[in-house]
């Protein structure tokens, strides 16, 4: 695909996204907001998986940490936006920094298990420390900050534009990071930690930085989640949420940031659309997931990149990988 066609597609997508609140229904705009904050979790997941080959099941836990921090601070009237959001990000950074020290000593299945445990600990705390988190009833009444409720052409679409702008900025930053010297080092670690160590790199520190960056992205998703939904509940960070991020990542393609966003968009859309017809929508998503794993192990993005016009992108992301 040449540069001109690429920019034409980018422009059409950008114009469509900007016009969504005016040309589409309110339901669609709401759906877009939901897709965008969940996609931030998918980006956090795909960043770790694609760059250093670590599959983290703790992504929703960081969304929860951030969301609960805001919910607790605001419902108790301790502080409000933007300070509550800043405090939430600080908490996410602190917990991910501490947990990253332990998690980065492991890899493969042990890393998955450790992150699963972290997710479950945070879920259990949210559920059982009722005096602070209000347990299974959750914390309600968190209102959207005024700064996110501005009008555009008379329509109250501020929240949509704030999350869209943040989303684009984060995806751009993460993609830039993957193409930077830091991203190159992470790829080196993914392929051989010992070779990177021999090149003089403190591999554990680089992995730790990547883990904290991923957690930060999930934490930002938490800020939008809590302000949009207005409720913080343990079900937002349970095992199903971890599974949803994992399924979305594999659906779209774990080696691609864009693929993870695509996967999350499809999973979220299917969840909402199928839910209108059947309570057993998860079975259908499960079957589709199975088909993708069997017939397109590199996810939908792998299939798209296999198109002859996308060959250079396919080579860039998949060629040379140990498992390609």
């Amino acid at each position: 695909m040449n540069q001109i066609s690429k920019w034409i597609i980018y422009t059409i997508v950008a114009l469509f996204l900007l016009a969504v609140p005016f040309i589409m229904s309110e339901f669609f705009t709401t759906m877009m907001v939901r897709v965008l904050y969940f996609s931030l979790m998918a980006v956090a997941f795909a960043f770790l998986a694609s760059q250093i080959g670590l599959v983290s099941l703790a992504i929703p836990a960081f969304l929860g940490l951030s969301g609960y921090t805001i919910a607790i601070l605001e419902t108790r009237e301790i502080m409000f936006f933007p300070y509550s959001a800043m405090a939430a990000i600080v908490v996410v950074l602190f917990v991910s920094a501490v947990f990253g020290i332990f998690a980065n000593r492991s890899k493969g299945i042990y890393f998955i298990m450790l992150t699963l445990i972290l997710g479950q600990i945070i879920w259990a705390v949210a559920r059982q420390w009722a005096s602070v988190t209000n347990g299974v009833n959750g914390l309600i009444g968190i209102s959207t900050p005024d700064a996110m409720q501005f009008n555009v052409f008379g329509a109250n679409v501020g929240f949509y534009y704030v999350i869209l702008f943040t989303f684009v900025l984060i995806v751009w930053a993460v993609l830039a990071l993957t193409r930077s010297s830091f991203g190159m080092k992470l790829k080196g670690i993914r392929e051989s930690e010992s070779r990177m160590i021999m090149l003089g790199y403190r591999v554990s520190r680089l992995k730790w930085v990547a883990f904290v960056i991923s957690s930060l992205v999930a934490g930002i998703a938490g800020v939008f989640f809590v302000y949009f939904v207005g409720v913080m509940h343990p079900s937002a960070i349970d095992l199903d949420s971890s599974a949803m991020v994992l399924i979305a990542g594999i659906f779209g393609g774990v080696y691609s940031i864009i693929g993870a966003v695509l996967g999350m968009s499809i999973v979220q859309t299917l969840e909402v659309v199928l839910n209108a017809y059947t309570q057993r929508y998860l079975i259908i998503i499960g079957i589709m997931f199975l088909l993708v794993v069997i017939y397109a192990p590199k996810g939908l993005m792998g299939l798209i990149y296999k198109n002859k016009y996308m060959k250079s992108l396919y080579d860039k992301w998949y060629k040379g990988r140990k498992d390609s």
């Binding site: 080196g188 392929e191 003089g200 403190r202």
Partner: protein, 237 residues
């Protein structure tokens, strides 16, 4: 502790209960090129891994690099004391291009003899032509050149080369010898383990013979070239 660039003193290494290296001692002085020769399974590669602290090898004794005892250091700290490693089988990164291999390894150096990706491309024009190609898609000889280039751009004081002649053509072996011979001009010393006697004798100035994990013989390459009896006795050539 000595003034040598690398000083290995009574080094013992064990794989579980197997005693692989037994009281190995030797030195590499600044700007010196040293070869460790030995047949297969004598502990040559284990010697490098023990010096660098690679893999989980139990080791005893002392290894001084630039005056620092590296026995209690992490491998990356040892590497940052000015040692670069050209491993057996090259061990390149499949998803990184030739250029990215050099960028990732490049460690700027304040001295006048800094190796940069551009200067190693001058040394190995063969890989310059394939800058954008994945490192592991190169021919065996080109991969060896890239592995050496990757070590050079770290601007080390000492390069450890593990069997550089393995799996490459005579032409590339000649290139490797040429590069080794000119290392001193760029303030780089060399420690080589090799089975290819011709390469070792032409690339190095001093020879240590390793037999069953022990250094049993030390001489200059000039003397060893003439000593056919020792060549047959220790190396069977």
């Amino acid at each position: 502790m000595s003034e040598s660039l690398l000083s290995v003193e009574n080094l013992n290494a064990y794989y579980d209960k197997a005693h692989i290296l037994q009281d190995v001692s030797f030195q590499v002085n600044p700007l010196e090129r040293v070869a460790i020769l030995g047949r297969n399974g004598m502990g040559k590669s284990t010697l490098f891994k023990s010096i660098l602290g690679l893999e989980k090898i139990r080791r005893e004794g002392d290894v001084y690099l630039n005056g620092h005892n590296v026995m209690n250091k992490e491998t990356f700290e040892t590497a940052n004391l000015g040692v670069a490693y050209v491993p057996q089988g090259w061990q390149l990164f499949p998803s990184l291009s030739v250029d990215e291999h050099l960028q990732i390894a490049h460690t700027p150096h304040a001295g006048e003899h800094e190796w940069t990706p551009d200067s190693v491309y001058e040394l190995f024009p063969e890989i310059k032509a394939r800058k954008k190609v994945s490192g592991t898609k190169l021919s065996g000889g080109e991969q060896q050149m890239l592995a050496i280039a990757r070590a050079l751009v770290r601007n080390p004081w000492l390069i450890l080369m593990d069997e550089p002649s393995e799996g490459i053509s005579t032409f590339v072996i000649e290139r490797v010898i040429e590069v080794c011979q000119h290392m001193a001009e760029r303030n780089v010393s060399l420690l080589l383990v090799e089975q290819n006697l011709d390469l070792a004798l032409r690339a190095a100035q001093k020879v240590y013979i390793l037999v069953n994990g022990r250094i049993v013989y030390t001489t200059s390459t000039e003397d060893f070239k003439e000593d056919k009896e020792s060549q047959i006795h220790y190396l069977g050539v």
